[in-house]
């Protein structure tokens, strides 16, 4: 039987501590839409997406009302577009992006991810055309998210792709300079990209996935922080236990929403992504959890250790609460999307070097970081290479989503609005890695034994 304390705890989590389901993401395979004529393919793509996802938003809203749990985003992820573009004689990737945009608008979703290419070992048919079209595609669409996987633990790092992506990120910013450089905020460069990630901007529907699937991403940094605040001055063993218990509750809710959505839509349930995803709202911050653990400001010495504890405890707590766990699963540390990170970056406590260290122990990577507008493409490529190396060697997903703030310098701000938030331009090393990046080639896959 339910007791009053449990009921009120749930209500408080939702009302005061920003507990929500961050996203219900429907993964749709587009492999059966391939056609040598791009127009025919685009028609098939539009028809399939709008047929499969026509009830997604309405069903999400219905579950939201019935269970009283806010579901912030309803999204779609599709087969990496480069894979289907490969079948066309005229590989007009921007036309495909516009079709995806039209389908996303027709379904009423917040974002559609999968304008993607997987090139960790080399470029296949359609890959180069798609990557080169990313800046234009992101500037002429509002709902399309793009990602490129340039490395993996098994394949190594494709440095030709890394070199190319530095230019693509920069050009995406230049083409959207009049809109606070929003383009690269919708573009992620991955190493070890997961195929079932429901979170944007990196979501795509991997080739090993079923025809259609429902993945759910939970959130709730505010809940974890509130639980720690109530616990007072306990030791770190108790802190880890408390985070596990809280993550369990959050994930159970995600699992419930996922199975309900799957049942009502008649689509198989894929995974729950156990992530602490912050928003710019005060109190919904991962940085504040670290500060609640006892750091004066996120970014100070000790931040990496605190984040490692948090990330591990979230997984341990969540894993038992869900029948299938996947995606990115861990704590996110996007700078502009997290009130505490924004504060730490503004006051200078949080540096890019510290963020890079933090990415070795948490779920994603250098996420939503504004960099100076005059940053050369080679430097962006080198940031990507560093981050991919961390992911490759540690057998984990890492990603880079940096935004060159065209025309702006360190300390000035970019504001994207909504969940993407805002934040200051952070300083980078000004020494040049150009020669290293321009060598191209591949960094070989690392040893999987002799671990030290």
């Amino acid at each position: 039987m339910l007791n009053a304390r449990d009921i009120l705890e749930t209500i408080t989590m939702i009302q005061d501590e920003h507990l929500d389901v961050r996203t219900i993401t429907m993964g749709i395979s587009l492999l059966d839409c391939c056609h040598s004529d791009i127009d025919v393919m685009c028609r098939k793509v539009y028809d399939k997406i709008t047929r499969y996802a026509k009830d997604l938003v309405a069903t999400g809203e219905q579950i939201e009302k019935e269970f009283g749990i806010p579901i912030i985003n309803k999204r779609i992820s599709v087969t990496p577009a480069a894979m289907i573009l490969a079948s066309c004689e005229n590989k007009d990737a921007v036309k495909l992006a516009k079709t995806l945009e039209k389908a996303a608008v027709a379904c009423g979703v917040n974002f559609l991810g999968g304008f993607s290419a997987l090139v960790q070992k080399g470029f296949g048919p359609g890959d180069r055309e798609l990557i080169e079209a990313i800046p234009e595609a992101l500037s002429v669409t509002d709902h399309i998210c793009s990602s490129v996987n340039i490395g993996s633990t098994k394949a190594g790092i494709n440095m030709d792709a890394v070199g190319l992506m530095g230019k693509v990120v920069r050009k995406s910013a230049e083409l959207t300079a009049d809109r606070d450089c929003i383009g690269p905020a919708k573009l992620v460069v991955f190493c070890n990209a997961p195929e079932d990630n429901p979170f944007m901007a990196g979501a795509f529907h991997g080739a090993g996935e079923p025809d259609c699937v429902i993945n759910v991403g939970v959130s709730g940094p505010g809940v974890v922080r509130a639980a720690l605040a109530k616990a007072g001055g306990c030791d770190l063993t108790a802190v880890a236990d408390l985070i596990k218990k809280t993550a369990f509750k959050i994930t159970r809710m995600g699992q419930l929403v996922a199975s309900e959505a799957s049942r009502r839509l008649g689509v198989p349930f894929g995974i729950v992504d156990l992530s602490l995803a912050p928003t710019p709202a005060i109190g919904d911050s991962v940085a504040y959890i670290l500060e609640e653990m006892g750091l004066e400001c996120c970014g100070c010495h000790g931040t990496t250790a605190a984040l490692a504890l948090l990330n591990d405890a979230v997984k341990k707590g969540g894993v038992m609460a869900s029948s299938h766990v996947g995606g990115l699963s861990g704590a996110f540390i996007p700078v502009t999307e997290d009130a505490g990170m924004i504060h730490a970056a503004r006051c200078g406590a949080l540096s890019l070097n510290k963020l890079e260290a933090m990415t070795a122990v948490c779920s994603v990577g250098l996420d939503m970081i504004n960099i100076p507008g005059d940053t050369p493409a080679e430097v962006i490529s080198a940031i990507i290479a560093d981050e991919a190396a961390i992911g490759m060697v540690n057998s984990k997903t890492t990603a880079v989503r940096v935004i060159p703030a065209i025309g702006k310098k360190v300390g000035e701000e970019l504001s994207f609005g909504g969940l993407l938030g805002s934040g200051p331009v952070m300083p980078l090393s000004t020494y040049s890695p150009a020669k290293f990046i321009n060598r191209g080639g591949r960094i070989p896959a690392p040893m999987q034994s002799l671990k030290n």
């Binding site: 339910l2 009053a4 449990d6 009120l8 209500i11 009302k65 019935e66 269970f67 159970r252």
Partner: protein, 89 residues
């Protein structure tokens, strides 16, 4: 199918009456009520059976929320499963 209605806010005359009238208007049976008053704050938790309700649950939930807004209270009607999922293994 059961749902939980929670009412939180400043105590005043007729809260229980108002919510239970709304339930009876729509053929929703009240199974259990617990309420407590801490200082001036009123907290009521009501377990109801919505199986024979004559309107969709989402509509009923909106209706209660509106009543809450009018009376300056926070009223939520949520499916029982959310609490079971979270608090029982």
């Amino acid at each position: 199918m059961r749902a939980v209605i929670t009412v939180i806010g400043k105590d005043m005359v007729g809260i229980l009456a108002k919510v239970s009238t709304e339930c009876s208007n729509h053929n929703i049976n009240v199974l259990e009520v617990t309420q407590s008053i801490l200082q001036d704050m009123f907290a009521m938790i009501m377990m109801v059976d919505i199986t024979k309700s004559d309107i969709p649950f989402t509509e009923f939930s909106d209706m209660l929320q509106k009543i809450g807004d009018d009376m300056g209270l926070s009223i939520h009607a949520m499916h029982e499963d959310i609490f079971n999922a979270m608090h029982t293994i």
